[in-house]
Symmetry: C2
Subunit: 177 residues, 2 copies
DNA sequence: GTCTATAGTGGGATAGAC
DNA sequence: GTCTATCCCACTATAGAC
């Protein structure tokens, strides 16, 4: 395992424990067991380090979403998987969604792989993006703590999914090609 | 007009022009025409200054959303108003949604006022939150530049609104009480 | 491939004179 | 209510010795 991968491992742990604000070259270096300047022998700059974490997140999502899309109610399962993954990795999720993807630094295909299950389940791009919007909106309001205290977030998800399920009846009998 | 309000005016301009990252006590002071330490004679700290901006944003949204909710297709009009406001005030929008509301520093009622039109149009809280999720998700992905280049965001909005409209038929004949 | 030293920049906030 | 001076903190990144 390359030193770069070790650094990414440690950075990911740090990110998921303490959040984006705490992910500094200094803190990463300390956790790895070296001084901050030494990191630059393995990683060109911070942006590429973050891109490495984002790539891992997209790959992980792809796996989880693919499995969900094969369940009985793929749309509901996918929504649940989306929310679940975000709640398990809130800081990584925010890093992945708070700004434009560093597409120039991402392994080719990783963005498409994460999106593919959603596209397969919804059947077309417009519906996929709308459902993504719903899921991302509910997730990010929840992660940000923006709902009023005591808000029934589960209920909001049920209503949203039901609305989409009602308009996606045609895709159930369609193959995933 | 109090000196505090003048400071908030300037801070709001600065925020909307340059973004949250550029909104520093130093930059605000310079734009006001004083030194940073002097700000603390009018505002206890940065957090309360930001809370003042958020309160203004919520009040502005309340006005815009109320007007939209009185149009012929209230749900679609509200969605369009939501997106439009966010695009006109992207940095303020992010300040308002990226974290928990500083409810302890907000004028009472201002959060509810911004939410009321949405609640009136959707008819119940679950549907209101689901629609908010959809709108916030699409808006924040758009503002963050997270959609792939060339993505048809308008189409995603149409699909999402159509899905909700199909499940909200009962509210059209209901009064806003 | 690691280190020390340091450049260069920025931030929020306080003390105390006037 | 404004100022100067300052504290203390943090960050990314580079130079150059070893």
């Amino acid at each position: 395992m390359s030193r770069r991968d070790q650094i990414l491992d440690v950075a990911l742990e740090l990110l998921e424990r303490d959040g984006v604000e705490s992910l500094t070259m200094r803190s990463i270096a300390e956790a790895v067991g070296m001084r901050a300047p030494s990191l630059y022998k393995h990683v060109p700059d911070k942006r590429s380090l973050e891109a490495g974490l984002i790539a891992r997140g997209l790959a992980a999502q792809a796996g989880v979403f693919e499995r969900a899309a094969r369940k009985r109610s793929p749309l509901a399962a996918l929504a649940q998987a989306y929310r679940g993954w975000a709640r398990e990795h809130p800081h990584l999720y925010r890093l992945m969604t708070d700004g434009p993807l560093p597409r120039d630094l991402l392994p080719p295909g990783v963005e498409a792989a994460a999106a593919a299950p959603l596209l397969a389940v919804t059947g077309n791009v417009g519906r996929a993006r709308a459902l993504w919007g719903l899921a991302h909106g509910l997730v990010s309001l929840e992660l940000a703590g923006r709902f009023p205290p005591g808000a029934d977030v589960d209920a909001a998800w049920r209503v949203g999914i039901a609305a989409f399920a009602a308009t996606t009846t045609g895709s159930r009998s369609r193959s995933t090609s």
